[in-house]
Amino acid sequence: MNKIFSLLLALCISASVSAQKALNAADAAEVEKSIEAQTSKLTTIKSNFKQTKHINGMSKDYVATGDMMYKKDNKVILNYTTPKKYKMVVNGEKVMMENNGKKNVYNTKGAGASMNEMQAMITACMTGNLQSLKNKYKLTYYEDGQNYLVKVVPITGKKIFKDIEMELKKSDKMLTRLRLTETAKAGKSGNDYTEYSFSGTEQNISLADSLFTIE
């Protein structure tokens, strides 16, 4: 019974992937150029997000919502509002976590290579800065009527993620969905993932530096 279910699931997944058309090398280069042209103009982003954590075998997904702010070059705020208020501020090498008014400040400089790599990679994906990923990841481009899908697969280093899927709107090249699929675990079938959906995105609006200050 499980085998039949797995087969059906695999068929559904392959059907959804096949809905996206893979781009040839020339078209992919063109898309990459246009995404980079768009993201190079970005100074700030403000967006709402919905975060879904899916764990195979668990009866339900964990869903959290909040808003995200980004300011060039390396300033990010993730402000969770549901189910619990929680705030993370990244400003250069400093990270501040705030929970129930308690603040903890960390320096990512001594946090280890894998932690730094993960932070750089997630920031690059959230802001669409694909150029910075090309050394360590293989990028494959797909498209459908409205979106581009970029599949990011690690080729070197620690493979924390099996792959990362980025969905960008064709019209403004803004990220609408980001899915980070974890590598399969020994003794467990399937892959767990965390998906961020972005909505109400605003670009190049005024965001004061003081918002990102870490004390």
Binding site: K53, M58, S59, A64, Y86, N104, M118
Partner: protein
């Protein structure tokens, strides 16, 4: 001479109180008895349904917030435990059973034998997987209440019960609220890992909505709050 005679009596009293675990202070020893798992009022998480807790790990002055997802698997007789960061990264993915903890995935920072052993011990204790079988030999303690103001003589009401049980992982002390029929706290012995767990419940609920774990010697505290 009279004082000398009183000395052994005082010594016995002192030794007796010194042997009483802190959480049973003020309770009356009832000697060794055979008790059943049901006496500890194990709370039952919904089978094959996940329960979510927000988790705060405190170590000295540092605080880490994460999520703990727990799902019992009736068929496998184990409980799946997944701890993730607020941002979704998996910190620990394991199953716990009476046999121990089977780890599927674990963050680099947690991969230390002592840390994992403590986590295993705490998680097994919280979900009462540290006890094998259904019957246990326990040292029993009682605290009763007698209404002396009533004109009619009434039997004392059992308020709290305490059970000290020797397990393969050390001695555990369980305290229950007999009126509400709930497990309220567990104390664990150990040199460095000595700890206390407190279970708090909302009115009419049989699953704790808040669990506090403290290991004072290690300056480690864990707070679990049920979110769903």
């Amino acid at each position: 001479m009279r004082y000398l005679l009183a000395l052994p009596f005082c010594l016995v009293l002192l030794l007796n109180s010194a042997c009483t675990p802190d959480i049973f202070k003020g309770m009356e020893s009832k000697g060794k008895q055979t008790i059943q798992r049901a006496n500890l009022y194990p709370y039952h998480l919904n089978a094959d349904q996940s329960t979510m807790y927000s988790m705060e790990l405190g170590f000295h002055d540092n605080m880490l917030s994460c999520l703990l997802l727990v799902q019992p698997d009736e068929a496998q007789k184990n409980t799946r435990i997944v701890c993730t960061s607020i941002f979704g990264a998996t910190i620990l993915d394991a199953t716990i059973s009476e046999k121990g903890m089977l780890i599927y995935d674990c963050a680099e920072q947690l991969r230390h034998k002592k840390v994992l052993r403590l986590l295993e011990k705490d998680l097994q204790t919280i979900f009462l997987k540290n006890l094998k079988g259904n019957d246990f030999k326990a040292k029993v303690y009682h605290k009763s209440y007698t209404n002396n103001e009533s004109a009619i003589a009434t039997d004392p009401i059992l308020m709290n019960a305490g059970y000290s049980i020797k397990t393969t992982k050390g001695k555990y002390h369980y305290k229950t609220n007999e009126v509400e029929q709930k497990l309220t706290s567990i104390a664990t012995d150990g040199k460095l890992t000595k700890g206390k767990m407190v279970f708090e419940y909302s009115d009419g609920e049989f699953q704790p909505n808040k669990i506090t774990i403290e290991h004072p010697i290690l300056h480690l505290s864990i707070l679990l709050e049920r979110t769903e």
